[in-house]
């Protein structure tokens, strides 16, 4: 027993060097980091990670980090076209400061899924948002389809953040039936005739709700023009004003507008007008 006791007590070397990476990664800050600090972190309390962090994105997937030259242009577009209308509509940055996801992650490419679709964005737990395809962002008129897609993704994910904070009325979930994981196998026009504003809206009520928001604010894909079109043009594909598809989408629209008014005290149609003019004015 004497031997045991003497063996328990040993001389441990005191920790003088902190564990590597404790307190977060560090690197030499440059103009991009300064822009993020001044334009997003200080005014909106948002941290932006644009550098590749292993394991932060989906680990065993082929995703590339953003091109650094694309980061500031992309963030400026977000600020001016997606965020500014909210600030103008609510009269201050308080709304965004409180509800914008606290971490914004950027990826250069999309994340391709085995079923032939790809992720353009993700939102998690009301606190984190991930935007893909930063490398193809462009504000040029000729690339307006890509730009609209970026904005659509942004409003889609922010819509998730909002309903993850305060859920929409449960009755929304019963407006439509026929939600399906095979949404990508159903043609966009068919989806609209069935009362879904986009293909992806068929994936589930949450997606349906935020696709309504993003389609109204930024337009939706596969419209009559073949690319992104405004909400009204998408509605044309649903059928005439008496058709089931049209009426279903309109019923969803009413819920969205009501939700924004009651929960967030935001006039949705006024917000939409601001989003549209911000977008048109930003194109080059």
């Amino acid at each position: 027993m004497v031997a045991l006791a003497s063996c328990n007590k040993e001389d441990f070397t005191p920790l003088t060097t902190p564990s590597p990476g404790l307190g977060g990664d560090t690197w030499t800050y440059d103009a991009v980091d300064k822009f993020i600090l001044d334009s997003l972190t200080v005014p909106f309390n948002v941290a932006v990670s644009y550098r590749w962090l292993p394991g932060q994105l989906d680990f065993p997937s082929d995703i590339t980090p953003p091109d650094k030259d694309q980061v500031i242009p992309m963030l400026k577009a977000l600020l001016n076209v997606a965020y500014l209308p909210y600030t103008q509509q609510t009269g201050s940055t308080a709304f965004l400061r409180r509800y914008l996801p606290k971490t914004l992650e950027l990826a250069g490419s999309a994340e391709y899924l085995p079923n032939g679709t790809k992720f353009l964005g993700q939102a998690e737990g009301g606190t984190s948002m991930l935007l893909y395809e930063v490398n193809i962002y462009s504000r040029l008129k000729k690339d307006s389809n890509t730009f609209k897609q970026t904005m659509h993704t942004m409003h889609h994910e922010f819509g998730h953040i909002l309903h993850q904070n305060v859920l929409y009325p449960v009755s929304f979930k019963t407006i439509s039936t026929g939600y399906t994981g095979n949404w990508y196998n159903i043609a966009p026009v068919t989806a609209r005739q069935n009362g879904f504003i986009t293909q992806y809206a068929q994936a589930g009520p949450d997606e349906d709700f935020v696709e309504m928001i993003s389609s109204m604010l930024a337009g939706g894909d596969n419209g009559p023009s073949g690319g992104y079109d405004e909400y009204e043009q998408l509605l044309v594909q649903a059928g005439g004003p008496t058709s089931t598809g049209y009426k279903t989408i309109k019923a969803k629209e009413a819920v969205v507008v009501d939700y924004f008014q009651r929960v967030w005290n935001i006039d949705f149609y006024a917000l939409r007008a601001k989003c549209r003019s911000a977008f048109v004015n930003y194109l080059q």
Binding site: A3, C7, T16, P54, Y112
Partner: protein
């Protein structure tokens, strides 16, 4: 450690009973006394965190302190991962010149494309402690291009969602400590396990990159547009033809003593001064590792070069193969006829150095592949062979138009001619032109590739046009 011995002691006690207890108590006491001396959580007085921090600093310093930068070679394993699922395809090697700076910046050239060979791109890197010490290229650079999941960017044949199976996040994989690394650093990719090697560059090498050497080497090498390239080095002669692994893959063909054709495949990579074989090939008494001092002579349309920097050699385009397999055209045609199936191309005609010369990829509703279907059907009493770019229609793939040929003429010289017969459907101009190209009266060689499933069909007239047919059944 003391606790474990006590536990061992308890087990012994229950197993052997009290009789032997004294003996084992003695043994246990002996072990315990030993443990006191060896117990230490440091090596040379340093904690693990101190050692990790020192190793990270040493790796960083190693990279940034190379006065003339690094040459980097990255070779894939032939497997690419996405969503935890793997695809297999050709192995490829990509070569870079890199300079690392203390402010986490890296500047590089790449041999992926001539556009990346002359203007260096600046991006970021980090040395970070993951499961192993890691070198991460953490914003987009030339290194990320072959890894891009969009095939329009990576030009990868692995399919949508997969690059070539290269990496941009690596583990240091030398079995020596950071401080004792020499002029070579080995890396292993964390996602695709691609192998990379950093080799310290010399001043001359760095100067050559900044003088545009990489681009001029790539351009000089690309000047000979023939499918068959004949290399003559003294009495030794061999042939180079395009390999299956994309633009930087070649087959080296030689004749053995009894006149039989022997073929070996290798990936190529380019540096500012040389064209290099990843897998050296032995030709006669000569091992071919690389071609140096590549000089294009427009007058004679030849490249003068130096094999391994020691043996002078001349590369010239050839209009005929070193040895033609005279049975190949018939074997190719019969394979489809016997199976009742067809041959597929996804790349269409390569003519005078240009891929997809007729821009078939831009056809409306094009499904991404084109077929040649021997004995497709009968019209006007002729059982014709069909060429047709496939289109997407009504939710499926469809043969909407094409060009028909009379039964092929197999010549004694081992070539084949497809006599033009008829156009079918409303055929777009691009498809019509490609169909007529197949019908050229000079005919074609058929070259069986190393996978035994792919044939290259090479125009006899000048060997500067070819199309690749794959067997997909």
């Amino acid at each position: 450690m003391p606790q474990r011995i006590c536990k061992l002691f308890a087990i012994i006690k229950t197993l052997f009973g009290m009789k032997k207890l004294v003996m084992y108590m003695l043994a246990a006491a002996g072990l315990m006394a030993g443990c006191k001396k060896t117990f230490d959580d440091t090596i040379n007085g340093e904690t693990p965190d101190q050692r990790i921090a020192a190793a990270m600093a040493a790796y960083q310093s190693k990279l940034t302190k190379a006065p003339y930068g690094w040459l980097m070679l990255e070779t894939t394993t032939g497997t690419a991962f996405n969503q935890g699922v793997s695809e297999t395809g050709p192995v490829a090697t990509f070569a870079y010149f890199m300079e690392f700076s203390d402010s986490n910046k890296v500047k590089m050239f790449s041999d992926f494309d001539t556009s990346m060979a002359v203007v260096p791109k600046s991006s970021d890197f980090r040395v970070k402690s993951l499961q192993r010490p890691a070198l991460i290229f953490d914003t987009y650079s030339y290194l990320h291009v072959p890894c891009d999941p969009d095939p329009r960017v990576s030009k990868s044949p692995f399919g949508v969602g997969y690059g070539w199976g290269t990496d941009f996040e690596f583990s240091f994989s030398d079995s020596v400590s950071a401080a004792t690394l020499g002029d070579t650093i080995r890396l292993t990719g964390n996602l695709n396990s691609a192998r990379a090697m950093l080799v310290k560059a010399t001043k001359a090498q760095r100067d050559a990159y900044y003088a545009g050497g990489l681009k001029s080497t790539m351009l000089a090498w690309g000047n000979i547009q023939n499918y068959f390239k004949r290399v003559t080095a003294g009495a030794t002669q061999f042939e180079m033809t395009p390999g299956l692994g994309g633009a930087k893959s070649i087959d080296i063909n030689t004749l053995d003593g009894s006149g039989n054709l022997k073929s070996a495949n290798s990936s190529l990579y380019f540096t500012a001064t040389s064209v290099n074989l990843v897998t050296p090939v032995v030709v006669g008494t000569q091992t071919v590792n690389r071609f140096e001092n590549i000089v294009w002579d427009p007058g004679t349309a030849t490249i003068s070069t130096s094999i391994n920097g020691t043996t002078a050699a001349l590369i010239a385009g050839s209009t005929s193969p070193l040895k033609n397999d005279v049975n190949a055209p018939r074997a190719w045609w019969n394979k489809a006829v016997n199976a009742g199936e067809y041959w597929v191309t996804e790349t269409n005609f390569h003519i005078n150095g240009k891929d997809d010369f007729y821009n078939i990829a831009a056809l409306p509703a094009f499904a991404g592949f084109t077929i040649f279907w021997p004995r497709f059907g009968v019209t006007g009493g002729v059982n014709y062979d069909l060429y047709s770019p496939i289109v997407i229609a009504n939710g499926g793939v469809s043969i909407n138009y094409g060009v028909g040929y009379r039964p092929p003429v197999f010549t004694a010289g081992g070539t084949v001619i497809f006599p033009l017969y008829v156009t079918l459907g409303t055929i777009p101009t691009a498809a019509r032109n490609e169909g007529i190209k197949i019908g050229e009266a000079t005919g074609y060689y058929l070259i069986l590739k190393e996978d035994n499933l792919t044939y290259d069909m090479v125009n006899v007239a000048d060997a500067k046009s070819w199309i690749q047919w794959q067997w997909v059944f």
